[in-house]
């Protein structure tokens, strides 16, 4: 159960006509109460019963003070200057109890009798962000627009000397259609509006960072009821802001009296000081993977959006909108001594690699070369490109084609930077129709150019007496048989990819999806007015209705095994996006 309290105090003052002073103090409190009771009869509580209750208070305040100066210096020269300070503080405080071994199966609340008590949900952290900023806007005759901003942010979670960051930026816009020459060259006959804009700015990113991320800690525990103290977190005092310098250039224009409007923009986003928790050699024995400003990369691409007012009659309207984005991502630098960054999912499966000159989070995969028709063995490809045959019960499990013994294939030695997991392009196409009292809308989304590792597929061909898909019917059974499924051997967890990710489970993640659709009917106004009702509408709507893809898993859009963008494009036993259908009646008085 969550309770949210939001409170805002807004004080506004104008000491002169061209000055506005404003102070806004807002609090946002969330009190979260979680209660879990596992009865002893079945499930997690069996056989003794258990219960957990936690209470957490997330308190947030933001105080913003700004002074805005607006002035028209001489005719058509408009200035506006904003100066401000903002501070945000968030504290998290939580506690709870975890009880096991229910005293009497008749009880069903945490307050009842249990024999063993433990703690749960203990948290006490805080963070603080303080900013000073200024913004200057200027325009001349609403034709030329110029803006400049600068801000200084300080954030508590960064290292002692790394808390502050300066982030300047600026932008220009030119509304050509307001120029005199625009109509004199008759451009206004084609373009009903035309604007060119460009901006360049630097911004900082602290999202997703733990409140004490830069600090190393020793924490308490118990050993036979006596207190203990052991390393619990590896910090990094040199941890600072992740920054991105974003260049954005674009045109917006309308034709046919703005019946069709379009926006074309090019962007390049240079990110430096990328923060990742970088895995260290396990034998180093660190308490956790320290966060590092590990490297740099860029995203660049083109975004195109076209909106149209295609048909507009009394009874029928149609408004389509189409957008497409192309993105290229490349890593340009990683920290010295870190030629590559390898990422592991929350299920401890190592799936992604990030290397300089390549996109972030490519799939890190061991290649295979089909199934040997003569023997039914899976053929793996080692790091040097040589075929290695695998026999689960062989005296020598791994052999070359000539039968000589090969070293076992491992991901560390033999996997390659295999394919890009990020899509190269994506977008959507939406349409809204209205015919008399009927309305219909739908949205198609799509992506292309990326690959997905379908880890589920390896589990579905695992021979440790696990449930298999019908693909296993194609298994190799007789010499000479050409198939992609090796001979079945009891307990074989290697040939089909349970122990390391194999290329046979990598698929294109291209798709087109009917993301949503909506159909409705509103009863005529004349009728509803008699009932004293403003509007009555009956509708049916659905989400994730149709999916066109060659991807074999439930949904190429879902990649939830990972925890961050360094391990994307991985689907292991992930549920697809839910398909929902809603029918409803909406009445407005």
């Amino acid at each position: 159960m969550h309770q949210t309290y939001i409170f805002r105090l807004n004080q506004h003052h104008e000491p002169a006509s061209w000055v506005t002073l404003k102070t806004v103090y807002g609090i946002d409190y969330i009190f979260s109460d979680n209660d879990i009771f596992n009865n002893p009869l079945q499930g997690n509580g069996n056989p003794n019963g258990s219960a957990t209750a936690t209470y957490a208070k997330f308190k947030n305040y933001t105080w913003t003070n700004t002074a805005q100066f607006t002035h028209t210096l001489v005719a058509k020269h408009n200035f506006s200057l904003l100066l401000g300070n903002e501070q945000t503080r968030r504290t998290t405080e939580g506690f709870g109890i975890a009880r096991t071994v229910l005293s009497d199966p008749a009880f069903n609340v945490i307050q009842a009798g249990f024999t063993t008590n433990g703690t749960a949900g203990l948290q006490l952290t805080e963070n603080y962000l303080v900013s000073f900023f200024g913004r200057l806007d200027y325009d001349f005759d609403k034709k030329y627009f110029l803006s400049a901003t600068v801000r200084r942010d300080e954030y508590s979670a960064f290292g002692p000397d790394k808390k502050a960051g300066y982030f300047p930026g600026g932008g220009l816009k030119w509304d050509i259609s307001r120029e005199g020459f625009w109509s004199s060259i008759k451009a206004d006959k084609i373009f009903s509006s035309f604007q060119i804009r460009g901006s360049y700015g630097k911004v900082g990113n602290n999202i997703g960072l733990g409140d004490f991320a830069s600090t190393s800690f020793y924490s308490s525990g118990v050993y036979n009821t006596n207190p203990t103290l052991a390393p619990s977190q590896t910090g990094n005092a040199a941890l600072g802001w992740e920054t991105s310098k974003k260049l954005d250039v674009g045109v917006n224009f309308g034709v046919l009296n703005n019946r069709i409007t379009a926006e074309v923009a090019y962007y390049k986003n240079d990110i430096s000081g990328l923060i990742f928790n970088v895995p260290q050699a396990p034998s180093a024995g660190l308490a956790s993977n320290p966060p590092l400003n590990i490297g740099s990369m860029y995203n660049k691409g083109l975004e195109i959006t076209i909106d149209a007012d295609a048909v507009r009659t009394k009874d029928f309207t149609w408004t389509p909108s189409f957008n497409i984005s192309f993105n290229t991502n490349k890593i340009t630098a990683l920290a010295p001594g870190t030629p590559r960054l390898i990422s592991t999912t929350s299920d401890l499966e190592t799936t992604n690699i990030s290397e300089i000159g390549k996109p972030l989070a490519n799939l890190y995969i061991v290649r295979t070369h089909g199934v040997d028709p003569a023997t039914g063995r899976r053929i793996f490809v080692d790091g040097s490109g040589r075929d290695v045959y695998f026999d689960f019960y062989g005296a020598n499990r791994w052999t070359y084609a000539d039968g000589s013994v090969a070293p076992a294939i491992t991901q560390a030695a033999d996997a390659v930077n295999y394919k890009q997991s990020q899509p190269k392009g994506f977008g959507g196409f939406s349409n809204t129709f209205r015919y008399k009292n009927f309305d219909l809308s739908f949205l198609l989304t799509y992506q292309f150019g990326g690959s997905m590792y379908y880890g589920t597929g390896s589990g579905l061909l695992d021979q440790r007496f696990w449930n298999n898909t019908v693909d296993v019917l194609n298994r190799w059974t007789a010499p000479g048989q050409i198939t992609n499924i090796p001979q079945v051997k009891y307990n074989d967890n290697i040939s089909n990819g349970s122990t390391m990710p194999l290329d046979i489970h990598v698929y294109s993640s291209n798709f087109i999806k009917l993301k949503s659709a909506n159909i409705g009917y509103s009863i005529p106004k004349s009728l509803s007015a008699k009932l004293g009702i403003n509007n009555v509408r009956v509708y049916v709507s659905g989400y994730n209705l149709l999916l066109f893809t060659k991807y074999p898993g439930p949904d190429p859009e879902v990649s939830s095994n990972g925890t961050g963008n360094a391990n994307q494009g991985v689907d292991r036993n992930t549920a697809g996006n839910q398909r929902t259908l809603t029918a409803g009646l909406s009445v407005k008085f």
Binding site: H13, L21, T23, P47, W63, N65, V101, T115, T116, N117, E126, Y128, V130, E154, Y155, S156, K163, D211, S216, F217, Y218, S219, G221, V222, Y223, N224, T225, N226, P227, T228, L229, A230, P231, N236, V278, P279, Q280, A281, P282, S283, A284, G285, A287, G337, T344, L348, E349, F392, A408, T410, Q411, A412, A413, R464, F465, N491, N493, I494, T499, M500
Partner: protein, 496 residues
């Protein structure tokens, strides 16, 4: 009015800014910050808490608190898998682990986490802590850290490295790390040889023997923290594993008398714990778990448990009420030994047949009989093992040796008075060794020594019904692979 407002606003902003500095550098109220000031070494209680944390690291359910013993048991020959569950180590049981198997990675991680904490502690004591506590206390604490580090390295060698006899320790061991790591760095380090790692284990144990306290104030602490006898006892195991039998005898003699098999009758200077066999072996596996036979055990209580699917009782006994554990005793294993009599106390009390209709005839081990939340202590070293280590070493050095037979009788006799071995019972030294090995198998069943007892001698790990193949010493599956993550992130590490 306007001026007033402006002033208040201005003051507010200024006040606000002046008090933000401490909010920008918050200090955790729940943890001790580890920076250049060695805050964790500034008080005697903090230092002692760090020592106890090393034991707590060792006690982790994925390490010596349960799973290490489980891997040692199920990889060997005495158990049949019941659940076919990868989480409860089917892959270890049927010899199919790879570098990405969970248990292969987690045991390594926890052992090295513990080792690094020992290293950090030893470094920190030298830099700061030695000035905070008395010199005698400092020596005790550092000796405890060295003991724990030695045990971790010994355990790692048992799972991830070829046995010592194979090439006399020349095969690759594990990365040998002896200084503490606290921050990001380049941790590429090649594996030391098996002999080099064993040499460090022995060195640490020798230093631990010199620095450890002779005794503690109460029985619980004596059992749950290392004292002098603990280091000596572990050395008998280490030397036995290295097949250095003369050294086993030298070490064991310090805590085993020649006629009276108790620790104080040995040659070690007086004042130590008088470890001794209990008249009734079942008392060793009962609360309070602190008899003088338990030289070193890792404690569990209702509020400190091994964690889900780590508990010894969960694997081998599972509450006793349903008699349906993860593994049952292999009918072709040690329980098939006809010379292990039905009246032997260890059979009567520890080998329990299921009464569950679906499991009739299945036998389980009742050494760890506490139901959930599984508070049986995890045994690490027991005096009975030291006696058997000594007996085996003497039989290997001297052939049919009177003291070896006496030691064997001490173990067998307390549980089965009707069996008495004499010199005439054995055709020669090898027959006596075999009898001692079988006695280890019976006496130490379920205590995490079986796999090493096969591997240190190069014996084939027998096949088990249900899909576990025989693994001879030449097979790569004889030992675990080096974990995938170590190979990925330690660029100098090499696979097995």
């Amino acid at each position: 009015m306007k001026k007033k407002f402006l002033m208040i606003l201005g003051m507010g902003v200024m006040l606000n800014y002046s008090c933000q500095k401490d909010k920008l550098s918050p200090i955790s109220q729940t943890s001790v910050t580890n920076d250049d000031n060695f805050l964790q070494f500034t008080t005697a209680p903090r230092i002692q808490a760090q020592v106890l944390a090393l034991y707590a690291n060792l006690r982790s359910g994925v390490f010596m608190g349960g799973r290490y013993q489980v891997y040692q048991e199920i990889k060997a020959d005495n158990w049949i898998n019941l659940s076919n569950n990868g989480v409860t180590n089917t892959a270890t049981w049927n010899q199919s682990v790879t570098g990405t198997t969970t248990e292969v990675q987690t045991l390594w991680n926890q052992a090295y986490f513990t080792i690094n904490n020992c290293n950090l502690f030893i470094d920190g004591m030298a830099a700061k802590g030695a000035a905070i506590v008395t010199p005698a206390q400092a020596a005790n604490y550092v000796a405890e850290a060295k003991f724990i580090r030695a045990l971790c390295y010994y355990d790692l060698l048992q799972m991830y490295a070829r046995p010592y006899y194979d090439g006399n320790g020349s095969k690759p061991g594990v990365p040998l790390r002896l200084t503490g790591n606290a921050v990001y760095g380049n941790y590429d380090l090649a594996r030391s040889s098996v002999a080099e790692v064993y040499a460090q284990v022995v060195k640490d144990l020798n230093e631990a023997e010199a620095g450890l306290p002779l005794i503690y104030a109460d029985a619980a602490t004596i059992t749950t923290r290392a004292h002098r006898n603990t280091a000596i006892a572990l050395k008998t195991r280490v030397y036995l594993t290295m097949q250095q039998y003369a050294n086993v005898i030298t070490e064991a003699n310090k805590i085993v008398g020649t006629a009276n098999f108790t620790a104080s009758a040995g040659s070690a200077p007086a004042g130590g714990v008088n470890n001794a066999l209990q008249a009734d072996v079942t008392n060793v596996f009962k609360a309070p778990y602190t008899t003088t036979e338990s030289i070193f055990s890792l404690p569990f209580i209702t509020t400190e448990t091994p964690g889900t699917q780590n508990q010894l009782g969960f694997y081998f006994y599972n509450n006793g009420s349903v008699l349906n554990a993860e593994y049952y005793l292999n009918p072709a294993g040690v329980v098939a030994d006809a010379n292990w009599k039905a009246t032997d106390k260890r059979r009567v009390s520890f080998i329990i047949a299921s009464t569950n209709a679906a499991r009739l005839g299945f036998r389980f081990l009742a050494k760890y009989a506490q139901p959930s939340p599984y508070t049986d202590w995890a045994p690490v070293i027991r005096y009975a093992e030291v006696l058997l280590n000594l007996a085996e070493a003497r039989a290997r050095v001297n052939g049919v040796d009177a003291q070896a037979i006496a030691l064997l009788n001490a173990i067998r006799g307390r549980s089965d008075a009707s069996t008495v071995f004499t010199a005439g019972s054995f055709a020669g030294g090898p027959a006596l060794v075999d009898a001692i090995l079988q006695e280890r198998n019976i006496e130490l069943l379920g205590e995490g020594l079986r796999n090493t007892d096969l591997v240190r001698l190069g014996l084939t790990i027998p096949a088990k019904s249900g899909g576990a193949p025989a693994v001879p010493a030449s097979d790569p599956r004889y030992i675990w692979p080096i974990p995938n993550n170590e190979l990925l992130y330690n660029k100098l590490a090499t696979p097995n």
